[in-house]
């Protein structure tokens, strides 16, 4: 399988561990990543640019889609937020031909045109839909038995369900749980798994953002989770980097390590933790690693 | 004990319009409502509000005539004249309050066609006109700081020296009973759809105010005039607005024919509602229906148009029956929808009980007579809601202080406790269902002496069962079990008045169609039926009649 790879801003910035683990895991999965086709692709706008100008945001995404179309390859994302913003933009572009034509006018100067054929997919969905759980299981070399994991999806990959095509692809709604089980670990269910991590308001209302982190991580911990896994690096940033602040609100350390989806797969596929930068998290992953008998 | 200048019972359109008038005039106004104002049944009205806008070449007399013809000449023409004359101002006033009416090309308020009228003079907000109007009036009530006794249930009217001076009300949230006194009361409690099954009306439409006024001695007028709306959704009975037909929808039988051609060749699907309902029922009864329904076909209007002008209808059809109106015709059938009858009032909303006014669906001025035109109900609520408030404001100037007596409260406390104390007996829902299903059978689109007598017999049976109806839940907090028992009693009173009205009127007129007396008899029956609760009479019912006021329009043959 070959994909036009869209790493997003954060995996090349504040979460390099996501980028590294993705590369390592895709190699094992037999996924070929084409970097060139998307190298001049811009940020999706992250929902923030869309606040200032929705049409501008749609134009940037249409440009990204046009670049993918040019490569002839399906488009792969590794961030819930990238996925969600792209899906929403795509839904708007495909719903109104006039709107798409207007936007294509903006892309003309660069010789680009979005023809409406792109269907961006997150690695999470590719695993469940294109590779399949059975194939995935066959690639597992180390079952992570005994590891209790709380799934945290990230708003943008679960809502709105219509733009994310949940009805046509019902597996998407519990894809993360399926992956956790496929690698031999136990799913820890908790009410916050599809709630908000607070990242979008981190710079605006830190108190609320930190309280969200505190609620979700401590609840998961109380339900017995050893760690939390998320397909979104923005969620990871908040849940990991701001967990010390969240612990302060609870008056006791929460100490719940947060890992990226590819890191989880990598551990099950025998990739060294250091290669996936598991030692670069704010909340230490040491205890979790020793739980599964992996030296950090 | 609570005291106010004017107390309004019911926070739907009529109630809120009356309250707004009162507060604007600087009075101490309060509203008591058994639900939050925004949950009132006014929210369910869909199609629009009629008004002849004279600056567009329309004529109030044309609207008055359409209304009177629609009423099968039973409406009091002086009342209709008032409503038609004041309609234009009422609609503009609503627009000024902030209603987001749909606009025409010229930026002015847009109109759509509606039943029984040749000119399109129905102003509307998509297919959610009632909700839009109610929300705006609610906003105005917030702006004016209106005092609302929210989720308080009126159990009795307080009559002192033959004058209405207040209510006893039960706070649903905590089970406390209170006295609220006022110098004037405006009853705006809505209709009684739950007396029938099925009905388009909310579960809260149990005819409370009609019963309260009836028991206090006010006559209920023309109660046999119960409107069956032609287009209620199959199986669920949810209303599909006349607006669909106003926008051009067809009614088809199982042969795919637009059958209204046979019954109303001129107005077709936009004939008066009683005519359309009877036509549909005839088609169904004669074997040209589909599972007891006919079809409402909007396909030719196109998806875009449907979604813009009739969005809520499409939502209802899809969500409740899984039918996409742009692709398929929707099965519909006649369903009980509205009460033209009600508490008799004069032109100012005053009932026969001094101090007690009534406005909206629970009142009968009479502007709707034997059949109401679509989009006249919303008009009725705002025009007479305002008028009754205006008159009450003047009336209370000569009214003295409230008495301190709380005797009614003591009596009600005992009565409610005795209901709670009943041993386990009959189930409220079962008794209601038995009554309501039989009311629909007896007082349906068609009725005759036998069906009405059966209904009366059944009602007697129901009345015998009433004292055995028990309230299992004895709690104080949000005890809807007790509320339902009280509502059942109200509904039985309503059923009684409806049946007696139907037995009394020995002709067919408008919605009251007797297969054993199919002709209209102006010579003997151009009059209103009045039903009084009177313990000195057989069955505690006394019947009288009242003349119909004719001003300009002599009754003629009613053809659509």
């Amino acid at each position: 399988m070959k994909f036009a790879f869209y790493p997003g801003c954060v995996s090349r910035g504040a979460c390099p561990e996501l980028f590294d683990s993705t590369i390592a895991v895709c190699e094992k999965l037999g996924i070929e990543l084409d970097y060139k086709s998307m190298e001049s692709a811009s940020c999706t706008g992250s929902g923030i640019l869309q606040e200032k100008n929705l049409k501008l945001g749609d134009t940037l995404n249409a440009r990204n889609f046009a670049l993918a179309e040019k490569s002839g390859l399906p488009l792969l994302t590794i961030c819930s937020t990238c996925q969600g913003v792209m899906s929403q933009a795509n839904a708007r572009l495909l719903a109104d031909k006039e709107y798409l034509d207007e936007i294509n006018q903006e892309l003309k100067a660069e010789g680009l045109e979005y023809k409406g054929t792109v269907d961006p997919k997150h690695l999470l969905w590719v695993l469940v839909e294109d590779i399949g759980i059975d194939k995935l299981k066959s690639l597992i070399v180390k079952k992570l038995e005994g590891l209790k994991l709380a799934p945290f999806y990230g708003c943008y990959i679960v809502r709105p369900s219509s733009a994310l095509k949940f009805q046509e692809n019902p597996k998407r709604s519990n894809s993360l749980e399926e992956i956790i089980e496929a690698v031999g670990a136990t799913v820890v269910d908790f009410p916050g798994k599809t709630q908000c991590c607070g990242f979008p308001i981190l710079m605006i209302n830190q108190k609320n953002a930190v309280n969200m982190v505190a609620n979700h991580t401590s609840t998961a911990k109380n339900e017995g989770a050893d760690a939390m896994v998320t397909p979104c690096p923005l969620c990871h940033l908040n849940l990991d980097a701001y967990q010390p602040e969240a612990s302060k609100t609870k008056n006791e350390p929460i100490n719940l390590p947060i890992i990226h989806l590819p890191q989880l797969l990598g551990l099950a596929m025998g990739i060294e933790p250091e290669k996936m930068k598991l030692n670069k998290h704010i909340i230490s992953t040491k205890a979790m690693l020793s739980e599964i008998g992996v030296s950090p | 004990m609570y005291e106010h200048d004017i107390l309004i019972i019911g926070a739907g359109l009529a109630g809120l319009r009356a309250s707004v008038e009162g507060v604007k005039n600087g009075l101490d106004i309060a509203v008591v409502s058994k639900v939050h104002p925004i949950r009132s049944h006014s929210s369910a009205a869909q199609g629009g509000i009629n008004a002849p806008l004279t600056d567009r070449g329309d004529d109030w007399e044309a609207h008055a005539y359409d209304t009177i013809k629609g009423s099968d000449f039973l409406a009091d023409q002086d009342a209709v004249e008032i409503m038609s004359r004041e309609a234009g101002e009422a609609v503009i006033e609503l627009e000024r309050m902030g209603v987001i009416f749909t606009r025409g090309e010229d930026g002015k308020l847009g109109t759509r066609a509606f039943g029984g009228q040749k000119i399109a003079r129905t102003f509307f907000v998509g297919a959610i006109t009632g909700s839009a109007l109610l929300h705006v009036l609610f906003e105005q009530s917030l702006k004016l700081g209106l005092n609302v006794y929210e989720e308080w249930f009126v159990t009795k009217l307080i009559i002192e020296n033959n004058v209405c001076r207040g209510v006893v009300a039960y706070d649903i949230k905590n089970g406390e009973l209170h006295t609220i006194k006022a110098k004037a009361i405006i009853m705006a409690s809505g209709g009684n759809g739950r007396v029938f099954e099925p009905s388009t009306q909310s579960l809260i439409c149990t005819g409370d105010g009609l019963s309260l006024a009836y028991k206090a001695g006010a006559p209920l007028m023309d109660m046999e005039m119960v409107q069956y709306h032609p287009t209620t959704l199959a199986r669920t009975g949810i209303l599909l607005s006349e607006a669909a037909r106003g926008e051009g929808a067809y009614l088809l039988n199982s042969n795919g024919e637009r059958f209204m051609e046979k019954y109303a060749p001129d107005y077709m699907e936009l004939a008066s509602r009683d005519v359309v309902s009877r036509s549909e029922q005839t088609e169904i009864d004669e074997g040209r229906g589909i599972d007891g329904n006919v079809l409402l076909d909007l396909r030719h209007l196109g998806r875009d148009y449907i979604e813009k002008r009739l969005g809520y209808l499409q939502e209802v059809s899809l969500e409740f029956l899984g039918v996409d109106m742009a692709k398929e015709a929707v099965p519909v059938r006649p369903g009980m929808h509205y009460l033209m009858g009600g508490i008799k009032t004069d032109l100012n909303g005053l009932t026969e009980i001094p101090g007690l006014y009534a406005a909206g669906e629970c009142a009968n001025v009479s502007v709707h007579g034997a059949n109401r035109l679509g989009a006249n109900s919303l008009l009725d609520t705002v025009v007479f809601g305002r008028r009754s408030a205006e008159h009450a404001i003047e009336y209370i100037k000569s009214i003295g202080q409230n008495s301190k007596s709380e005797n009614d409260l003591k009596l009600e406390r005992k009565r409610l406790q005795s209901i709670l104390d009943r041993p386990k007996g009959e189930n409220i829902a079962k008794v209601r269902e038995d009554m309501a299903v039989n009311m629909t059978k007896g007082i349906g689109v068609w009725r005759d002496q036998k069906s009405i007598e059966n209904a009366l017999e059944n009602l007697k049976n129901i009345k015998n069962r009433l004292p055995n109806v028990s309230v299992e839940h004895k709690g104080k907090f949000f005890n809807t079990n007790l509320i339902f028992a009280l509502e059942l009693e109200f509904m039985v009173d309503n059923a009684e008045a409806i049946i007696h009205g139907a037995i009394t009127r020995k002709e067919s007129r408008g919605a009251h169609f007797r297969t054993d007396m199919p002709d209209r008899d102006d010579e003997n029956w151009l009059k209103h039926t009045l039903v009084y609760h009177d313990v000195n009479h057989e069955n505690n019912v006394r019947i009288e009649t009242a003349p119909v006021t004719i001003t300009k329009w002599e009754p003629e043959k009613r053809v659509y």
């Binding site: 606040e51 200032k52 501008l56 369900s161 605006i204 209302n205 | 009132s40 949000f478």
Partner: protein
């Protein structure tokens, strides 16, 4: 209702959260009900059946049964819904137990009945009535259909409270005005007849718990039973405040910083973004970033203060310029 005449029945398992303020302990408990009901029934049909025939003590609000009065909002299997239009087969395709609870973020009065005070206090905060300085001498205001039709989206709101129930911000901060009130505010900001547009935008911008506190989680969009999409309305309000030159709020600075960054390099500059969101001269704000920021730099060696441009960035910059010019 429709549940009576039809003959095909199905078995329904309900688990309902109960609470009685009269109970001295004040605890909630779960109660299970098992009933047979017509297969086309809604969750409301089932609850009414329980209330009428199984357990008359069960308290719930409902009226129209036609998704227009807004009474019957409650949580079904964890998400707020209008139960009168939630078909049982939708939430329980294979006879699974249906969990029904009162809406969250409102106070519970009894069982499934919640207090509406929270909701309407939020609504009142946005001055939800038209304020027009100019009234036409006679007749109606003249306004185009396009300008009014747009507002119908907000008018579809039936004040059911589902969005408020599932709002993730209200879960941690009851000072947030909330999605329903902000949608109401949007309706007045965009009503051509209202004269207070600028004041309204300013209040929504400045107020604690105003438009910038929404975390863009889309719960309200997902749960709204009437397609109002409150979050989209909030985003439009943000766009309106920015267009009106109100740039002092952290959220505005944040949006402008992202805009600037993508225009310049094609990506978000994670080093500068937090600083610009607080404001370069906001010493206290920047100080609050110090500890988490240093922690990240030390542990992760990122984000880097050095921020490279994407290849072909000039093309992206041109798109930005076109949009700026066309405003």
């Amino acid at each position: 209702m429709g549940a009576r005449k039809e003959s095909i029945l199905m078995n329904v398992n309900l688990k309902v959260k109960r609470f009685d303020p009269g109970d001295s302990e004040g605890k909630t408990w779960w109660q299970k009900y098992k009933i047979d009901i017509h297969e086309g029934s809604t969750v409301l049909d089932a609850l009414i059946h329980v209330r009428e025939y199984e357990d008359t003590s069960l308290a719930l609000r409902c009226a129209c049964r036609a998704s227009i009065c807004g009474s019957c909002g409650m949580k079904v299997n964890g998400n707020a819904k209008l139960v009168c239009k939630t078909r049982i087969v939708e939430v329980s395709p294979n006879g699974e137990q249906i969990i029904v609870e009162p809406m969250a973020n409102h106070g519970v009065v009894k069982d499934l009945v919640v207090s509406l005070d929270t909701f309407f206090n939020q609504i009142k905060r946005v001055e939800p009535y038209i304020q027009a300085d100019h009234v036409p001498e006679k007749g109606e205001y003249i306004a185009t259909n396009e300008s009014m039709e747009n507002l119908l989206t907000a008018m579809n709101c039936i004040m059911c409270g589902c969005c408020v129930s599932d709002c993730t911000v209200l879960e941690v901060d009851d000072n947030f005005i909330g999605p329903a009130a902000l949608t109401k505010a949007w309706r007045f900001v965009n009503d051509p007849r209202d004269s207070k547009r600028t004041d309204r935008l300013k209040d929504l911008n400045d107020e604690d718990g105003g438009i910038w506190d929404c975390t863009r989680c889309m719960q309200c969009v997902e749960v709204c039973p009437k397609g109002v999409a409150p979050m989209d309305r909030i985003m439009e309000l943000r766009e309106s405040t920015l267009t009106n030159g109100l740039t002092n709020a952290f959220g505005a600075k944040h949006a402008n910083s992202v805009n600037k960054s993508i225009k310049h390099s094609g990506r978000i500059d994670e080093f500068r973004l937090p600083i610009e969101s607080k404001g370069y001269f906001n010493i206290k704000g920047i100080f609050s970033l110090l500890i988490p920021g240093l922690r990240m730099l030390i542990k992760k060696q990122s984000p880097s203060p050095i921020h490279h441009k994407n290849p072909n960035q000039s093309k992206v910059k041109n798109i930005f310029k076109n949009f700026e010019e066309n405003k």
